[in-house]
Subunit: 149 residues, 2 copies
DNA sequence: TACTAACTGAAACCATTTTTCATTTACTAT
DNA sequence: ATAGTAAATGAAAAATGGTTTCAGTTAGTA
């Protein structure tokens, strides 16, 4: 838990450094994202953050997500058929394994896409600037739950 | 152009085979997706298909996309910050390089994710069922346009 | 040439996100 | 501590993107 709190501080001081004010609303929102190992949608985030700050407005959630996104602090997930989800995590380049059952997210550092990227660049003529890589599956807990039925 | 037409026929006869009727609306929609090497959004698709069938309704576009998607004929793109886009293409498992300038899409067959998938499965305990892999960049044409300015 | 299940599109509806704006607040400089 | 100010907030309204409903139409068939 000490690491979660450190992460919270790091994010808040980054916000402060960029000239944003540290409001209790923003605290509650950041804390709510960090306190879950599942990704959150804006609506879910509103509900969670309101437990700490009940009068929180929906708009502020969207605005805070925008800011975090612009600062590159937010990980965006693309769960098939669902609305986009968000997590707050590491700052280095990484990717995600997402549980289709419960939304739990596990990160990993990428390996081996560099060769593929070079090949594609050569073969298609595209100047490649980025990529999305995401695995979808069932987390250990959800595998158990499914087997029990 | 003969290949585009073959593709169109293949898709339409697949629809017929599945018990769907071949209506002029569906023809226009399928043709509109195929006639572009850029991905289309539902709105764009409506506009394009209406050139061939002006009274086409927005709902029919969504319904046809649903059908094509269920049959596994539709490729879904996740362009950063934009709405999901669609193309019609190959039936085998493949991925996309998408131009962030104009939306042009180029496919490729994947190589080398199997090892990574095994590693992740082992390290995270997830039972991996699928993945998203997409490259983003500038197509040759858009690179030129950008350089000229 | 019927017949009928499938299909269509207008309209109403719904969920999500954005905009607007009057009020409040976090920070800065006294 | 206090006041001043730009930034932030939230209620409400509007916009956006997508879905449902339903009465009328049509593709495929027999
Ligand atoms: Mn992450
Ligand atoms: Mn494709
Ligand atoms: Zn799970
Ligand atoms: Zn391009």
């Amino acid at each position: 838990m000490v690491s979660v709190s450190n992460q919270e501080d790091a994010i808040l001081s980054r916000l402060r450094g960029e000239g944003y004010k540290i409001t209790p609303q923003r605290r509650a929102i950041v804390r709510a994202i960090l306190s879950s190992d599942e990704y959150v949608t804006p609506e879910l985030l509103l509900i969670k953050a309101r437990q700490a700050f009940p009068s929180l407005g929906r708009v502020t959630v969207y605005r805070t997500l925008d800011i975090l996104s612009q600062l590159g602090l937010l990980c965006t997930l693309h769960p098939e058929g669902h609305h986009p989800g968000y997590t707050l995590g590491r700052l280095d380049h990484h990717h995600h394994v997402v549980c289709s059952g419960c939304g739990r997210v596990s990160d990993f550092s990428e390996h081996g896409l560099e060769e593929l990227e070079k090949r594609l660049s050569r073969e298609t003529g595209f100047k490649i600037e980025g990529h999305i890589l995401e695995f979808l599956g069932l987390c250990p807990q959800c595998q158990e739950t499914n087997n029990e039925k």
